[in-house]
């Protein structure tokens, strides 16, 4: 068994509660929102919570969520937008609320995803803010996703490495200002991959339904597995992979497809 095969990989999707996944057949006809997580957990071992980006996490809601999933099920939670995209409120207070809200998830929390907006470039002010933010989240497993190319520098990777914070590897359309797809490992405990789809036109349209409307082919995923994924697995203790191309249930289809490719390889 090679090094890369020893690294367990958890595959899931970004969000699980989509009505269109019923229309598309991932959930059985008539499935309603409260029943979705347990059905999802039959297929995937982990989910990325994206509603935590839209609103501040609340301990009571998180507790209810945990209760509806198996004990072994894992979660990755996005950091709330008031700490990344819309920092017009007192961010220290927001951070305190987030830490308190996410606490019930601690045992099943695989990572907190700090997704930064495309406009968040490597300015002095932003570097200062990010350093304070990451300090404020100390103690939680963290993964940082940059969207601006200016962060693609060795000094940034070294800093993340020192803090044992994971740099998120993204698969997205190739655009000049977008952070590129890199197989850099900054935290040997964990790698974190997000598949956004490769719909360049959709990405530029500003329409979320078009942006993530993409289905990876078997060849594309097999190539990814042989290239970037193999490289990440050979240097990490554990890996998380999420498909964000949620439109028309392409994400769970692609997740299952990658799962089958990995199983085949394992066999």
């Amino acid at each position: 068994m090679t090094d890369s095969m020893r690294c367990p990989v958890f595959i899931g999707t970004s969000g699980y509660s989509y009505t269109e996944w019923v229309d598309s057949g991932f959930y059985p006809p008539g499935t309603r929102t409260p029943g979705m997580l347990s059905l999802y957990a039959d297929v995937f071992p982990i989910v990325e919570l994206n509603y935590t980006w839209y609103q501040m996490v609340r301990a009571e809601a998180i507790s209810r969520l945990i209760a509806s999933a198996p004990k072994s099920f894992l979660f990755a939670a996005k950091l709330t937008r008031t700490l990344t995209h819309e920092r017009d409120r007192d961010w220290k207070h927001e951070l305190k609320l987030y830490r308190e809200g996410i606490r019930p998830l601690e045992k099943q929390l695989a990572a907190i995803l700090v997704q930064l907006p495309p406009g968040f470039n490597r300015s002095v002010q932003n570097r200062y803010y990010l350093a304070h933010l990451l300090d404020g989240l100390h103690g939680f497993p963290l993964a940082v996703e940059f969207r601006h190319i200016s962060w693609a520098r060795d000094s940034v990777f070294r800093e993340l490495e020192e803090r044992r914070i994971t740099l998120v590897t993204v698969d997205a359309p190739s655009m000049p200002t977008l952070f590129p797809c890199l197989d850099v490992v900054t935290n040997p405990d964990l790698f974190f991959v997000r598949f956004h789809g490769r719909n360049l036109q959709g990405w530029q349209s500003g329409n979320i339904q078009k942006k993530f409307d993409y289905s990876y082919s078997r060849e594309e995923l097999a190539q990814w597995n042989q290239g970037v994924l193999k490289s990440l697995r050979s240097r990490s203790g554990k890996g998380l992979i999420f498909f964000n191309n949620h439109v028309r249930a392409q994400a769970p289809d692609n997740g299952k497809l990658l799962q089958s490719i990995l199983e085949k390889e394992q066999a």
Binding site: Y18, T33, Y54, Q55, R64, N207, I208, Q209
Partner: protein
């Protein structure tokens, strides 16, 4: 059945927010909006600062001024608030035709069920709209998302003056349980007091009572309290204004008239206007009333009802004329008349599986639909049925 996705937007202290957009120098000043010239004026709206000092809506202005001495008092401008409300509605209607608005109070309910393929998940719609309203109007609404109006309204109350709250489908009862009874929409102070006598102060405690137990204390209110305490609310988002429980259209004659034919013609025209409003709002009217105001100052009101309700001008006209016949009798000239349509039912948006309408009814529907399109494009009164002449 699909879970509904109801978004509630609430621009906190709407009148104050609009006044502050109009005059940015008012931004950091405590504000009270009240009719300053009235001798017994009451507070129409107030800013968070004034609220913090104890000022409340409906409080007498003299008392409010004592509570918040630094507050600047502005006279209400309903026309301005109405315009701001229209601007809000115009923007949210892009995402759904099912928009219910409060009366110049910054409250909007949106039913975005089934719009995900066009616009994405419901939280995304709410977030995107808030950004748009901030950017284009300078208003910063609180938003919440839930499976019904009742729960989304409570969720908005939880986060005001700013923020957002998503209550997942199936979590309604658990969400409401720890909240005080005063947070439950529709429950009155007397009912809260009665429940306090039973040592019940939380919504969860109320939900712990059976229908039979509630029946003993609340009789006919028991059923609605039973459902509300469990976060159940089947009410639909009705396009138009909340609490707008009737549609009225009136006409004043240039000269007082005693001619039945003239009156009949006016009633036909008014019926078409009422019918068009009902169709726009997706409502069926079950009762049609005719109000006749006589030249001697007296008034007669007569009504007719149709059990199933209708938005069809032809049927509404028959009802209106039947009411007119009932009202018509005095030998005194008439100065003005009005039509009042009420007791609404929501119109089903789903087509029936089998064709239940007669060919004539289908023809009528086509004619009305065409007339609505013409009226929308060229304005009211540009096209009328022959019965109006």
């Amino acid at each position: 059945m699909q879970d509904r996705a109801i978004i509630h937007f609430n621009v906190t202290d709407f009148a104050v927010a609009v006044e502050r957009i109009k005059d940015s120098s008012l931004k950091d000043v405590p504000l009270i909006v009240a009719a300053t010239r009235a001798s017994r004026a009451v507070v129409y709206d107030m800013s968070e600062e004034a609220y913090g000092d104890g000022v409340r809506k409906g409080m007498r202005l003299t008392l409010a001024r004592k509570y918040c001495r630094t507050a600047q008092v502005l006279a209400p401008q309903p026309a301005l608030y109405r315009r701001a409300m229209m601007e809000l509605v115009k923007r949210v209607r892009v995402f759904t035709p099912l928009v219910e608005q409060g009366v110049e109070d910054g409250h909007l309910f949106l039913d975005v069920t089934g719009t995900h393929r066009l616009f994405g998940p419901a939280p995304y719609i709410a977030w995107r709209l808030r950004k748009q309203l901030q950017r284009e109007l300078g208003l910063d609404p609180v938003w919440s998302l839930a499976s019904n109006k009742l729960v989304s309204k409570v969720a908005s109350r939880m986060v005001r003056p700013f923020g957002e709250y998503i209550v997942g489908a199936g979590e309604e009862q658990a969400f409401l349980a720890p909240l005080p009874l005063s947070m439950l929409p529709g429950i009155g102070p007397k009912e809260i007091q009665l429940l306090a006598d039973f040592n019940l102060s939380r919504i969860g405690q109320l939900a712990g009572l059976s229908r039979e137990q509630l029946q003993v204390a609340f009789q006919e209110r028991s059923s609605s309290l039973y459902d509300a305490s469990r976060g159940r609310d089947g009410s639909v988002v009705l396009p138009g204004k909340t609490g707008d429980e009737h549609v009225t259209r009136g006409h004043t004659f240039a000269q007082d008239t005693g001619m039945y034919a003239e009156l009949k013609s006016v009633v036909s025209i008014l019926t078409h206007e009422v019918g068009r409003i009902l169709r726009q709002r997706g409502l069926l009217g079950r009762r049609m009333g005719v109000v006749l105001n006589y030249s001697d100052g007296s008034r007669t009101i007569r009504r007719t009802t149709h059990k199933g309700g209708s938005d069809n001008d032809f049927l509404l006209r028959r009802l209106a004329l039947a009411a007119l016949d009932k009202a018509w009798g005095r030998r005194v000239r008439i100065r003005s008349c009005a039509l009042v349509c009420d007791r609404f039912l929501p119109r089903s948006r789903q087509k029936t599986l089998f064709v239940l309408s007669t060919p004539r009814q289908l023809q009528q529907e086509k004619v009305l639909s065409a007339m609505d399109r013409v009226s929308r494009r060229f304005g009211d009164g540009m096209i009328r049925l022959g019965t109006a002449f």
